[in-house]
Symmetry: C2
Subunit: 338 residues, 2 copies
C-alpha cells in the first residue's frame, strides 16, 4: 500500500502558487506495537497554513521543504496494534495533507457518534469554532449591548463569532467579499448587517460604510483579515474598544503592506481611545475546548447555530483549494474529502 | 489684585516654541457666596499638555486659543466664602498656568498635613504616581519574576513604575536619555540596569542593547516615549507580553513618524507573540486613587520609594520649562514654584 501526500516543494515568494507543492507516493511503514494505521477521510484547509510555508520563525515551526504540509484531519482506524483504538473508529488529529498516517495513539481525539456530521469536528466543532468562541468570550470579553464587527464573516471562524455574539445580545456587523456571502451572513446567520468590501472604492468610503452600519461606533473588532478592512474599522472604534487579533489573511503574502497607515497613527489611537489589542492563537487555549464543544454542540443540535462547508474532492485538489481559500474563493469552511 | 496667566497664543506647527504662549494679566473677579480665592504655589508640567495644544480631537478637549494652558496645581486658600474651606488651607486642582484662581470648591482635593512635602501631591503622590501604579498593576498586570522595560525611566511616571516593579519582584530595566539619568536610575532607584538611548547608533544597535540587558526577553514594556525605543523593544517582547501605552512623547510633535516601522510588521508581532497592547489614561481610574495614595505614601514615609523634582521658579519660566520637558531636558518631576 502506498501513501499519497502533498509536500512543500519550495517556499512561496509572495503569493503561493501550485508550483510550491508536489505530489508524492511513499510506502506505508510496518506497524509496531502500540501503533495504528489511519485512512484520512477529511482534510481541513485553514489560513494559518500560509504562515507555515514561510521559513521565518513564528509561533510554530515552519514546514520543511520536502515534508508534507501540516493540517488537521479526520481519519478512520484501518489497522491497530493499540488496545485503545479499534478498526473502524474515527479520530481527528494533525496528520497533514496525506492519504494515510501511522500514529502511536497520542494527540488523537476520538470523534463521538452523534447526529452531527463527522466533518464538523474540523470546523464549527473543531479548531475554527473554538477560535471563534475563545476570541469572543475570553479575548474580546464581549458584553450584551455592544457592537462587534466581524471580518471574513462567512468564513469558518467568522460565521460562528457572529452567531455567538448575536445570542449574547450584541449588535453584529459582518464584512465579507461578495454579495452572495453578505446575503448568507444576514439572512442565514442572522447578522444585523454585512458590508461587501468589494464595493468599497477607498478606505475612506469603507470607513463611512462602517460608520453607517455602526452609528454608535464599534466596541469589538474581530480581526481575521487586516488590510483595508482594519484601516476602515480603526477610526470607528469606541473608547475602551477591543481588537481580537486572530488572523490577517490579506497581508499573509506581502500584498498591501506599504500602503498601510503609518504605525504612529495607530499607536496614537491606542492611547487616545484606550484600546485593548490582543493577539491570540487557539493552540494556547486547549483547556477550554470541552466547555466550548459542549456549548456549541448543543446549539447545533438545537438548530440555533448554522454552518456551511465548501467541500472539494480528492487530495489532489488540496493545493488549488488552499489557494482559493487565501483569495476568499471559498464559501464556508474549506474541506477536502478523500 | 491682578491674576497672571499663560495662555495659548497659537497652535504649534510641529515642535512647540515659546511664541505659542503669551503672558497676560487679568483682573481678579469678586468672590460670590460659596467661592474661594486661591493663590497657586506649585504648577505641575506634564507631557500630556502637548496634546491639549493641538486642535484635533483627543480624549480631552483642546485648550482654546487665548485661554490659559491647563495644568494641575497646589494652591493656598487666601479668601473664602465657602464654609468647607478655610484661609490657609492647601488644596490641589486643575487651575492651569495661573497665579490665582477662583473656585466653587468642587473638584478640589485638600492636601493633608504630613511630613511629605506638599508638592509630592503633584508628582509621586499625584497624577504621575497614580499613572505608574495603575499602569503596572491594573494594565500590565505585572507578576514576580517577569522582566519589565520602562522608558523615560527617570521621569515622574517611570521612576515610580520601576521602583514599584522592583518591590513586586520583577527584573527592571530602564531607558533614559543621559548617563547621569541612567546612574540615578540604577544607583538611586535600584533598577537592575538602564540603557542610555543617546548611545544607540541605530534601532538595531538599540535592539541588541535591550537583548543584552534582558536575555530572557521582555514581558512588559511600559511605554512613555514611542519612537526608536518602541521599535527596539518590540522584537524583544516575549510571547504573551504586555505593553501599557501611557504616552509617546517622542512622536507628539510629529518628528520621526515616517521613519517608524510599517504597521503590518507590528500587527504580525501582535498575533505571532500573542501580545496584549493596552492604552490607558489616568483620568479613567479615579476609583483607585485612595488605594494608590495609601500604599505609596506609606512607602515614601518608610524611605522605600525615592523621587526627584526638577523645580523651576516663577510662572514666567513655565513655557521654557515645558519645552525642556518635551525634549527630555528635565531631571525628575517638572514643577514650577510660584
Amino acid at each position: 500500500m502506498n501513501i499519497d501526500r502533498v509536500v512543500l516543494a519550495e517556499r512561496p515568494k509572495g503569493e503561493p502558487t501550485k508550483a510550491n507543492f508536489r505530489f508524492e507516493k511513499v510506502g506505508a511503514p510496518k506497524l509496531h506495537k502500540g501503533e495504528l494505521l489511519l485512512k484520512v477521510k477529511w482534510l481541513s484547509l485553514d489560513p494559518y497554513m500560509r504562515g507555515r510555508m514561510d521559513g521565518s520563525k513564528s509561533y510554530a515551526a515552519p514546514v520543511s521543504i520536502g515534508e508534507p504540509m501540516q493540517g488537521e484531519c479526520i481519519a478512520e482506524v484501518i489497522d491497530s496494534q493499540n488496545n485503545e483504538f479499534k478498526v473502524g473508529e474515527l479520530v481527528s488529529g494533525g496528520f497533514g495533507w496525506v492519504s494515510h498516517a501511522v500514529s502511536n495513539g497520542k494527540q488523537l481525539r476520538k470523534i463521538p457518534k452523534s447526529n452531527i456530521p463527522e466533518q464538523a469536528s474540523l470546523g464549527v466543532l473543531g479548531m475554527p469554532g473554538h477560535t471563534a468562541w475563545v476570541g469572543l468570550n475570553k479575548i474580546a470579553k464581549a458584553s450584551p449591548g455592544e457592537t462587534i464587527v466581524v471580518s471574513a464573516a462567512s468564513g469558518a471562524v467568522g460565521s460562528l463569532v457572529g452567531q455567538l455574539a448575536k445570542k449574547k445580545g450584541l449588535k453584529v456587523i459582518g464584512v465579507a467579499g461578495s454579495e452572495k456571502k453578505c446575503t448568507y451572513v444576514t439572512e442565514e446567520l442572522g447578522y444585523d448587517g454585512c458590508i461587501n468590501h468589494q464595493l468599497a472604492s477607498s478606505v475612506e468610503d469603507f470607513r463611512q460604510l462602517i460608520t453607517r452600519h455602526c452609528p454608535n461606533g464599534v466596541d469589538i473588532y474581530f480581526e481575521n483579515v487586516a488590510g483595508i478592512t482594519l484601516e476602515a474599522v480603526l477610526p470607528n472604534m469606541n473608547d475602551f474598544g477591543r481588537i481580537a487579533v486572530c488572523g490577517m489573511i490579506s497581508w499573509y503574502s506581502g500584498k498591501g503592506l506599504q500602503e498601510a497607515m503609518i504605525f504612529p497613527k495607530f499607536w496614537r489611537m491606542v492611547l487616545v481611545k484606550r484600546l485593548r489589542v490582543n493577539g491570540f492563537i487557539i493552540f494556547d487555549h486547549k483547556e477550554s475546548f470541552p466547555e466550548f464543544q459542549k456549548e456549541v454542540s448543543s446549539l447545533i443540535q438545537g438548530g440555533e447555530i448554522k454552518y456551511k462547508e465548501d467541500i472539494r474532492d480528492g487530495l489532489e485538489s488540496a493545493p488549488e483549494s488552499f489557494l482559493d481559500l487565501l483569495n476568499g474563493g471559498n464559501f464556508g469552511k474549506m474541506l477536502v474529502r478523500l
